[in-house]
């Protein structure tokens, strides 16, 4: 009798074109890179009991490249998180770098990839709130070609991505903008490798005491990462420090838009209160930074 895995075929393409051709022919195949996400390991266990295939991405060199231009950093989707943090030490936006360094632990970060953190489509995965706030872009590739999608349009709903059959996340484009203030904060469970329950990223640019650009994103509430351009634009042009009325009005506006996740381990009231506390803390720290 065959043991689990005996019937499994593992394909190890060495080029992106080879990978795309294989994936186009076998679009229901499990693709595997770092393998640190619990869901990926569960899928591997389930496909291994049947006569199925796995495509291993670790040998596709183009997926592990990192490239810098004047305006962007482009990160291959299969580059391990620890390598991204190490190569991008002085280049990555601080909020994103802080988020990546907070994922699990150093040994998991040596295996886990940014592409996996994104494609697992868990809205409170730590890279997502910073990628939303910095307006990260994703290049998706298939045999039919390439397309760029802003990360804000990558998740149509909870646990879903816009990846079509046979399409992969090829690279992640990080805009290299200057920010006067950046922050990333998270609340996690007691387990060291547990997903963040809530995380927050805030960015601000100001000049002569006036807020020019403000961005913030919150993961762990709503079905995808929460970001409101309307709320952000309300803060732009305001003089620092914000008045109590301005702060409370912003928090009230955010409170109306936030929805707790039904499967969260937090109570709804606590989730929303914590999300709003992150936002208040961010606004208060912009004040401090501007002194």
């Amino acid at each position: 009798m065959a043991k689990p895995g005996d019937l499994l075929r593992v394909l190890r393409p060495k080029s992106v074109n080879g990978l795309l051709r294989l994936y186009a022919k076998n679009p229901d195949t499990l693709i595997f890179a770092g393998g640190t996400e619990r869901a990926t390991r569960a899928k591997l266990a389930s496909v291994s009991t049947e006569s199925k295939m796995v495509i291993y991405l670790g040998k596709v060199e183009e997926l592990s490249r990192i490239r810098r231009s004047q305006r962007y950093l482009e990160i291959g989707s299969c580059l391990p998180i620890s390598r991204i943090v190490s190569i991008g030490r002085h280049i990555l936006p601080l909020a994103l770098s802080t988020a990546l360094r907070s994922i699990a632990n150093p040994t998991v970060r040596n295996l886990g990839t940014l592409g996996g953190n994104i494609c697992s489509a868990i809205p409170n995965n730590d890279s997502l709130a910073p990628l939303y706030a910095i307006d990260g872009q994703l290049e998706l590739r298939s045999v039919s070609g390439s397309r760029w999608v802003p990360i804000s349009r990558f998740f149509p709903g909870a646990g879903e991505t816009v990846l079509k059959k046979g399409e992969i996340l090829f690279r992640i484009r990080i805009p290299l903008e200057e920010w006067d203030y950046q922050c990333f904060r998270k609340v996690s469970g007691s387990h060291i490798c547990s997903h963040a329950l809530l995380n927050f990223c805030g960015l601000a640019r100001f000049s002569k005491g006036i807020l020019e650009t403000v961005r913030f994103a919150l993961g762990g509430l709503n079905s995808t990462v929460f970001r409101s351009l309307e709320l952000e634009s309300r803060l732009e042009g305001k003089t620092l420090p914000l008045s109590k009325k301005e702060v409370e009005s912003l928090l009230a506006g955010a409170g109306e838009l936030l929805e707790p996740l039904t499967d969260s381990s937090f109570s709804s009231a606590y989730s929303i209160a914590t999300g709003l506390r992150f936002l208040r803390w961010f606004i208060e720290n912009i004040h401090r930074e501007n002194r």
Binding site: L44, G58, N105, P106, V108
Partner: protein, 161 residues
């Protein structure tokens, strides 16, 4: 599926399921039982090994990732002078009451010292953040690692492959 790779500088060939975990191959097939299994999901660090010079959890590595790779387990690392110094310093500090986490922590500490010969306490704590000591003896472990870095010969630490 036949897989060829190196373990502690020795060529190894295994034939079996491509989804078997490296920790099982090491412990069951190769009888390298210094690598322990704790949580089985990358949280506790008992199963860490060096794979191509990077510290990884062997419980998260399916066999199909192994071809052409180079693995160093605690048994391989124990052949180095760095190990002797580290073990002595940890013993002097009275670390590891039960010893279950020791192979993982020694590899993690050795890996840190190979990259940074005089880490701060915060850097040591960060480097060991993927290694859980069930006895909770972190202070002695950190004292031991700092004991190694205080010695002048700590400069000779180099990347172990």
């Amino acid at each position: 599926m036949k897989i060829n790779f190196l373990v502690n500088k020795r060529p190894v060939t295994i034939d079996g399921s491509p989804v078997r975990r490296l920790v099982d191959i090491l412990r069951i097939d190769l009888r390298l039982t210094g690598t322990k299994e704790g949580c089985g999901e990358g949280s506790c660090g008992s199963c860490v090994v060096l794979m191509n010079g990077n510290l990884v959890n062997s419980c998260l590595i399916p066999a199909f990732k192994l071809p052409d790779s180079e693995i160093v387990t605690i048994e391989g690392y124990a052949q180095s002078k760095e190990y002797t110094d580290l073990k002595q310093a940890l013993e002097d500090a009275g670390a590891f009451p039960c010893g279950f986490c020791s192979s993982g922590i020694i590899l993690a500490a050795g890996n840190l010292l190979a990259e940074n010969s005089s880490p701060t306490e915060a850097e040591i704590r960060e480097a060991l953040s993927g290694n859980i000591c069930r006895c909770g003896d972190y202070d002695s472990i950190i004292k031991g690692i700092r004991g190694v870095t205080a010695k002048p010969q700590s400069r000779r630490y180099g990347k172990t492959r």
